[in-house]
Symmetry: C2
């Protein structure tokens, strides 16, 4: 097993991307990044991709923020260095809802990730070894601090819009609350003001599966023959269920056996094969340490922390906000978006995306999401 996903974050490759189309920014070289949890990080690398051109007045920049297992590749085909096509592929491009003829689009890999930005598999500057189990506790607020430093380097004082769903939506909110003057429009999809007990419980159970795998070794597995792939597969299998709706799984799989397998003779049902496939796919492309660190970061999502609660925090927002939820999202249920809309000064009502796909609809319902983005960007 080799851990190639984050080699670009060593710094040596800052000039260009050895495996994809990313650019890299070296941040916090002068002063370390002080984290909410009390630790700090020296020298943070951010991998990012851009599409379109920044205008002279630097007013047309849009920040697009990815979810848990996403990365900077919001747009473009799959290929070397990009295991999958862009996660919002049809929504970004010339003439697309996020129209690159008009906008300069930036998508960074998140702090703690494993696709070029500093994370657990990155080399720690002080001793030249991967952070591994030493990677500190981080929060969405820390992740936004890194994204703000990237914006500084890019010379973008104020974003025309910041947009994202799920974990991306958490950072949109942290941007809008923590740096209100820098966000003209905030687009938050399938997210809430804080992680709920159930979200924490689900993330924490997924992490327990990874950390209980003996190959996890407290996160220090990069020099071992195998990492905690078994635990990561279980985690993803659980996650995948929560990303879909009960009815969608029912309609798609019902009680169908997988191909010609016979469940009563030890074969699998189709849903079992589907979940195993998603587990295998993720385990092949994603670092378990990043999964744990980012899941924990999501657990710490709470825009109200240290700001007098969520009502006071959300009252700071100056951006025009668009809040969208998905009719069948049981992971980030509509009540969370209704609460946001109620507490955000400049929010309209919640835009409900009607979909059977559950939480995943922020990725799958490209027509509805596209319409929503187009409206939000031009309002």
């Amino acid at each position: 097993m080799s851990f190639t996903y984050n080699r670009a974050s060593t710094g040596a490759w800052l000039a260009g991307d050895p495996v994809g189309h990313r650019q890299f920014a070296a941040l916090f070289d002068d002063a370390p990044l002080a984290l909410e949890g009390g630790a700090s990080l020296e020298h943070v690398t951010v991998a990012y991709e851009t599409w379109g051109a920044l205008n002279a007045r630097r007013t047309n920049a849009i920040l697009v923020l990815h979810a848990l297992t996403g990365d900077s590749h919001a747009h473009g085909p799959d290929g070397v260095g990009h295991a999958m096509a862009g996660w919002w592929n049809p929504l970004i491009g010339p003439g697309a809802p996020i129209d690159t003829d008009n906008f300069f689009v930036v998508c960074p890999n998140v702090l703690g990730g494993c696709q070029g930005t500093t994370g657990p598999s990155s080399i720690a500057p002080n001793d030249g070894r991967p952070y591994a189990g030493r990677f500190p506790i981080i929060t969405p607020r820390d992740q936004v601090a890194v994204e703000a430093a990237l914006a500084d380097v890019l010379g973008i004082e104020r974003w025309h819009a910041v947009a994202g769903g799920s974990m991306g939506g958490m950072r949109v909110l942290e941007w809008a609350v923590g740096q209100p003057e820098r966000v003209a429009r905030a687009i938050v999809i399938a997210c809430g003001a804080y992680a709920t007990a159930e979200q924490i419980g689900l993330s924490s159970t997924q992490n327990a599966a990874i950390m209980g795998d003996p190959n996890y070794r407290g996160g220090d597995y990069y020099d071992q023959p195998a990492g905690p792939q078994v635990g990561l597969r279980v985690a993803r299998s659980l996650g995948q269920i929560t990303y879909r709706s009960e009815l969608e799984l029912h309609r798609r799989f019902h009680r169908k056996p997988q191909a010609d397998e016979q469940p009563l003779r030890g074969g699998r049902y189709a849903i079992e094969s589907y979940l195993a496939h998603h587990g295998d796919k993720l385990a092949a492309r994603f670092d378990a340490n990043s999964y744990v660190v980012l899941s924990n970061a999501m657990n710490h999502h709470d825009v109200g922390r240290g700001r007098g609660g969520i009502a006071d925090a959300l009252a700071r927002v100056q951006a025009h906000t668009t809040i969208a939820g998905i009719s069948t999202d049981r992971l980030y249920p509509l009540r969370l978006q209704l609460e946001l809309a109620e507490l955000l000064p400049a929010a309209r009502d919640v835009e409900v995306i009607p979909s059977i796909d559950g939480h995943d609809a922020f990725l799958t319902e490209t027509e509805a999401v596209g319409k929503l983005l187009r409206n939000a960007l031009w309002r």
Copy 2:
């Protein structure tokens, strides 16, 4: 680690219960039990408890069927041999909804279980070693075949009622469909006519956590220093979330830290401690092999299999049926009970138990369940 939970099923103790108040029946001594999956079992022991007295005409017997991690101890205090008080404790007894002044109540441990009835930790008759990983695939229909053999031994030709929730409800349905003349009243709570894709996916993910634990060893861990307790804890943690409602977890735990722990400094949120506690508790009292075998049995729940589909199967039912669902049950959602009520010839409407507790309400809402049972038993 010792595996004491099932020692009673060796047969040597059939005369009495060394650790509790159970009785034991030795079944299938003459001819083996032919299983739906094609295998067979020789010599099946069933542990059961009874309350009240069978009347002379043997017409007052009620069969109460437990759920996944339950056992024969539906009623009575905790103590030696009974890790917990009866799972329907307040619902059974003199003057209780299942009134032992009037009824003779029988509750057997299920086939595949680990509390006295033949299961993976039982000694296989042919070689004197535990079945362990060799225990065959079983289904709810097989489990009911064993319960029917127990009824024969007890001389109960027809049950006044068969009642149960969740996995217990599956067996109530199999009784009512498969042996219609033997069931006068069927009471099915929080269950459906078949396991849905999501239920299969959730059970299968829990099993993957157990089977991925290197201490599982394909089920052959009884002679090892440790079993797959880590995997079983993860499985239970996931299960526990699905047994409650999102809103109940939210109200009870919100984002509270556990006691004086500090999540941002590596401490836990209260929900994390709660789930870990449930994992620890189950891992201390339940056999992982039984968890896997019974979860798979539930995956194979489908009253329509080999009977021309669920509509034809349910049309066979002669019992007065009471179908109940729980308003917030996301594991066995109300649509499943509505479907049952629609297809069962003698069912009234679905009785909806209003509760924030989710699926677990069939255990926790004793007042509503008690009222429902009382009505159903006397109709």
